[in-house]
Symmetry: C2
Subunit: 423 residues, 2 copies
Amino acid sequence: MQGAAKGTFSLLLQAAARGRIYLSVLPCARSMSSSEMLIPAPAVLMQPLSVPERLMLGPGPSNTPPRIQAAGALQLIGHMHPEMFQIMDEIKLGIQYAFQTRNKLTLAISGSGHCAMEAALFNTVEHGEVVLIAVNGVWGERASDISERIGADVRRLEKPSGESYTLKDVEKGLAEHKPCLFFITHGESSSGVAQPLDGLGDLCHKYNCLLLVDSVASLGGVPIFMDQQGIDILYTGSQKVLNVPPGTAPISFSERARKKIFSRKTKPPSLYVDMGWLANYWGCDDKPRVYHHTGPVTNFFSLREGLAMLVEQSLEKSWQLHKDNALYLHQGLEKLGIKLFVKDQAVRLPTVTTISVPEGYDWMEITSYIMKKHSIEITGGLGPSTGKVLRIGLMGYNSTRANVDRVLHALKDALQHCHKNKI
Amino acid sequence: MQGAAKGTFSLLLQAAARGRIYLSVLPCARSMSSSEMLIPAPAVLMQPLSVPERLMLGPGPSNTPPRIQAAGALQLIGHMHPEMFQIMDEIKLGIQYAFQTRNKLTLAISGSGHCAMEAALFNTVEHGEVVLIAVNGVWGERASDISERIGADVRRLEKPSGESYTLKDVEKGLAEHKPCLFFITHGESSSGVAQPLDGLGDLCHKYNCLLLVDSVASLGGVPIFMDQQGIDILYTGSQKVLNVPPGTAPISFSERARKKIFSRKTKPPSLYVDMGWLANYWGCDDKPRVYHHTGPVTNFFSLREGLAMLVEQSLEKSWQLHKDNALYLHQGLEKLGIKLFVKDQAVRLPTVTTISVPEGYDWMEITSYIMKKHSIEITGGLGPSTGKVLRIGLMGYNSTRANVDRVLHALKDALQHCHKNKI
């Protein structure tokens, strides 16, 4: 188009950008040369970004403290600069501390906790191998799904949502199915259960099986000792107790797991999470680092800061804080006549508390009311616990008595204002 | 441990934290109960985070402008909040504009460009299907690797690094191999080639084949018209022309690609990038959104801002700017007696310029000198171009005449000070 035609087209584009006309007014694609614009600029992107302030007391993401927010605003450096490798080395040390492990193969996945779950299964399991998955909530379901996709022979150990596994339960499963890998969730955030881990490692190793533990919702808030407890693969997410924006997921592999990975017959299905490549990128293999993918530089800055804050506070203090504030919340809930969903006090997860939806109430009306009137997020259930529970998270920076008081006040208000027996 | 023993242990831990003793001094794991700390706090995480300021004129990541840095420091909201869905909808509109497409199945992957490459191949290709990969640099090699991992029958169309494909080359390959998908790189950042795309879509469709284009290093800097050019799958990265921190990757699928995805016989190997789940999470399927994974909330804020800045500038102006500044750079390089690596002027990539390593110089000495003396990143080659080229990136916010002057000045200085004929 030249001259007048071009001028008319520009006017149309400008009008479309202001939202005054619809796309169908524009000339159709087939009659245009490839130097002409077809899709106009969306008007909504001419408006400023709008993000409300919220107190995030759901199962994650949690709020980020100012120090971590500041890290998110730093200028970028290159993913292969020596200063970046130094920061990645610091992240590794921080993960080794948080996981209580000396594993050399320790790093952060460039994705969410689900990406780390895939990294764990993709690297350690080959087509046709038997895996045993403990299912008592949504995370076991997801681990089963992923294992099936890669052609594993998936066996399930099932329990109702809200219950945990005994060593006897697990031993029965191991003896029956003889899996190469056993998956269990430490912090079952959909049900609010903290699975006891002592003894599971020895049991799995007795049956020549790797122990894979999901600690996305528990790490930093509940004691875990990767080496002492004989955990072979452990991963977590950044956006829970660490208070780091979602997008990275710490993971570590024992020597036993490393050996299985590096003696595979086939390549893992994914290049992106291939532990051969990632071990090199993270300096875990003593070879010069070569380019694999462009790591999320800013997220690594934030993760480094989240781990540094945990180090400064100390694991012991963090565990104690989560325990104390969860107890304070539980007492307050009971005073309001609200029932805790997990019956066995010993296995209640201190980072995410589940309560039974109060009788006669619509759970969604409660969460919406609290969001609208108090700018606080608490959430409903997930997977098998949907419709049964409400979930309140107290994680890292958010685990304070003041926040417990705020959420109890909001809940009390919601119970008074939401319509009992409406449904 | 109790009393004195516990006190001694604490002192040891403190000493280890200060880096005064080595881990081997600490009691061994087997003699301890699980309530005791084994791995001490790493001293280096007690130090402040240190990130140098750099002008990033390599092939990416590029520098982030203040508006995008500010988005990185915003407080988090939930990945399932309505305000987040609004921002995701805005991102979709921004991608549709940047890609020049009306495709409904348009979204951002929660990972790097490589993760998007996997998402494209994992969803559209099934085990045993024939794919044809155009290899003229590192990206074709990676696409071949990923395709092999998922059991595709991989055929390759090879060209030396620095060359592009003609329609005749491609038609010969399509006729011979009859693939279900053809992969080609638009911005071959390892060689500096901008692959012409006109006519490729029609050609692929004539052979009943999907056209997959990698535009990680070119999108926003080189004209591309997804719908008009008949591209079936197109993806890019956030950290190039968009100047957004790495960690998200825009992707879009044509109706033809969508149909192939949703008539698969088997599930894609990955749940994390399963387009059935992601289509729902991104509101592309008209069903109520359900939880899939926790998206990288902060990265989405930044991506929204990067797309908004492109919208404000307009694609036409962005393309012109990249073209003008690249030409200005090329002229300056020639004045310094430096040879451009890509012989054919018509296919030189304006976002990443490759130059032949000046005769008698060690490329690594040049990049190190420029980094050390001028705080500017330029890089060596990648994959097949390693040792042959130096790469200078001018992307988005970084594509300015002032930056061209800075890098030319730095290069001139390096050529005077680095040791010619040392190697």
